[in-house]
């Protein structure tokens, strides 16, 4: 036996270590929740009319005791936007986390699989030519178009992936092919569209939370709340998927069926998020990687951790987008990439252990 295994360790030590690890992870999740609440309050406080954190908390806890103006600004105008940041961040991050898990690929995300590009194409059809794929109220034409195209892309990838001999690597390649196809179609739309339509399309693709309203928030939250328990139900199986299909199968997991179900669920999450706020590409890639570094890949912690990391990134992004140029809200998609990517690189390069 090598030196490592001749060192005696009592069984109870292993259990004690495991328990301390679980406790540490619970604390990290709790810390993320606290950070998220703090970021939410700061996000609410910032804007053309500034409020102190005390005022924000007072308006949240006892809305009746603050001025009518503060109540309207905080509850009616800023709250849906701030909460939308949390839900969209969580949705995109969870979608990315599970795509990475089931495809065993660190680059998988709604963005790289073409789901965001599909959504952009659908939105651009509506913005440039007024095409409604399904007739709907004017407010919902663009999001519905985006949603339908995103789901169409996802199902196309599923359908192709069911062909014999298609591996997870092929699925990622299919996604990248989708991105290029939709980008070309977008270019075509912009070529034929009017000047104003082009700027509307460009603004949409930048991703902006200012499109958020209460009804959109409730829809996005509803989808997230419905999908999370369905994913959690497969917690052990999803964790096993990271050990490879052969290993997962030997443990009783059915990789193909699970991959299909999860791909549909997370496509739904990503499609709704992108449909309402436009393309925010970075969260789905980075949220899960940060969660993985902090919490490992046991889905009991990785799944909520991904959701919290994504929500936190987008909420902090929203705060930063308001303070860079006071009075101007820079589209959040730009901020998350500009600020988030250097932060992400810092984390990855300074992390002692390989996270993939």
């Amino acid at each position: 036996m090598t030196t490592e295994t001749t060192v005696t360790a009592s069984p109870s030590q292993g259990r004690a270590f495991y328990r301390s690890q679980v406790f540490r992870r619970q604390m990290i999740l709790a810390a993320l929740v606290v950070a998220l609440l703090f970021s939410l309050c700061v996000d609410l406080a910032l804007g053309p009319a500034r409020y102190s954190l005390n005022e924000v908390i007072a308006a949240l806890v006892t809305p009746g005791n603050v001025s009518q103006q503060a109540r309207v600004i905080l509850w009616e105008i800023r709250m849906p936007v701030a909460l939308m940041a949390l839900v969209v961040g969580a949705s995109l991050s969870v979608a990315g986390a599970q795509m990475q898990t089931i495809l065993s690929n660190p680059l998988a995300s709604p963005f790289t699989l073409g789901i965001s590009a599909g959504a952009s194409f659908g939105a651009a059809l509506g913005l440039a030519f007024g095409v409604a794929i399904i007739p709907a109220a004017i407010e919902f034409v663009v999001p519905l178009n985006a949603f339908i195209m995103a789901m169409f892309t996802a199902f196309l990838i599923h359908a192709l992936s069911l062909k014999r001999g298609v591996t997870v690597e092929t699925i990622v390649l299919l996604g990248i092919a989708m991105v290029f196809i939709f980008n070309s179609l977008m270019a075509l739309i912009q070529f034929f569209a009017s000047q104003e339509a082009v700027s509307a399309v460009v603004f949409w693709t930048m991703g902006s939370l200012t499109k958020a309203t209460w009804p959109k928030f409730w829809i996005a939250l509803g989808i997230l709340a419905a999908v999370m328990p369905l994913l959690a139900r497969h917690g052990w199986a999803l964790t096993a998927m990271r050990l490879g299909d052969a290993k997962a199968e030997s443990m009783g997991v059915k990789p193909r069926a699970l991959r299909l179900e999860v791909l549909i669920l997370v496509s739904l999450l990503a499609a709704v998020a992108v449909a309402f706020v436009g393309t925010i590409g970075f969260i789905g890639l980075v949220g899960p990687h940060i969660a993985r570094i902090l919490l490992g890949e046991d889905q009991r912690f990785f799944l909520p951790g991904s959701a919290l990391c994504g929500a936190l990134i987008l909420s902090v992004g929203s705060v930063i987008s308001k303070i860079i140029i006071p009075g101007t809200i820079i589209p959040i998609g730009i901020i998350t990439s500009l600020v988030g990517i250097p932060f992400f690189l810092f984390l990855v390069l300074n992390h002692k252990k390989a996270s993939w």
């Binding site: 295994t5 360790a9 052990w236």
Partner: protein
């Protein structure tokens, strides 16, 4: 005691037949059975067929079982790099199909499996940092922790040094003797098969060409036919059968 019997079992990938018409006597708990044969003989496929991962003609009959999932399978090493500790990865194998809440009994079984294979000290290590041999032992622990009545291991000793090969096979022998498990183990080392197993099945090109007590199955004629080597089997000074390979033919 659990029993396993195969009757006319076949398996195919697409149109290609991998296993054809395999029928065995009834193996029972307490036995260690070697699955022998050259590369690509269909050993892994047979394991997957028994586990139900592959469909095909014939029947895999498992009787006298008390467990919901009586069979656990250790596949050949795949070298995955998930961000999990050894302890977590073994717990994971036990928790499949169970609730998200881990019970003290589950942790006790993880401890027991790690201890059984003498890898308790690896518990805190990340699985991505392990050597090939260590990964193989962890993989065995993942199968063991499921408390199976039938344990199938696909070349579990291929990455182990000699000491660990013997240790692992001794553990398997003990699991059969003391816990009454039926153990099916694919081996390339026929010397190990002679020493540690009760019965052997020999596969060649997807067909079962010999099956019975190991000492009767492993003969110079079979070695020449299946493994293309000239060899003798002689008792050592302690009277155990010893395999001496002379040359490839």
């Amino acid at each position: 005691m659990v029993t396993l019997k195969l009757t006319h079992v076949s398996a195919r990938y697409g149109r290609r037949a991998i296993l054809e018409d395999i029928t065995t006597p009834s193996f029972q708990g307490g036995q260690v059975v070697a699955l022998l044969g050259p590369n690509a003989a269909g050993k892994s496929t047979l394991f997957r067929r028994i586990l139900g991962l592959l469909k095909g003609e014939g029947e895999v009959i498992i009787s006298n079982t008390h467990a919901e999932r009586p069979v656990a399978y250790m596949p050949q090493d795949t070298g995955a790099k998930a961000v999990l500790t050894v302890y977590e990865s073994v717990l994971l194998a036990r928790m499949q199909g169970r609730s998200l809440k881990v019970q003290p009994e589950d942790l006790a079984q993880v401890d027991r499996a790690l201890e059984e294979l003498n890898i308790t000290s690896l518990g805190e290590r990340d699985i991505g940092d392990l050597s090939g041999g260590q990964r193989q032992l962890v993989s065995a622990a993942q199968a063991l922790v499921q408390e199976p009545e039938i344990l199938m291991l696909d070349e579990p000793t291929s990455a182990l040094d000699l000491n660990r090969q013997i240790s692992l096979l001794t553990v398997l022998r003990r699991l059969a003797d003391e816990r009454g498990m039926l153990i099916l183990v694919a081996l390339h080392d026929l010397g190990h098969a002679l020493r540690f197993t009760d019965a052997s099945m020999v596969l060649e090109n997807g067909r079962l060409i010999a099956c019975g007590p190991t000492e009767e199955v492993i003969t110079p004629e079979l070695l020449r036919q299946v493994y293309k080597v000239a060899a003798r089997i002689e008792p050592c000074s302690k009277g155990r059968p010893q395999l001496i390979v002379e040359e490839a033919v």
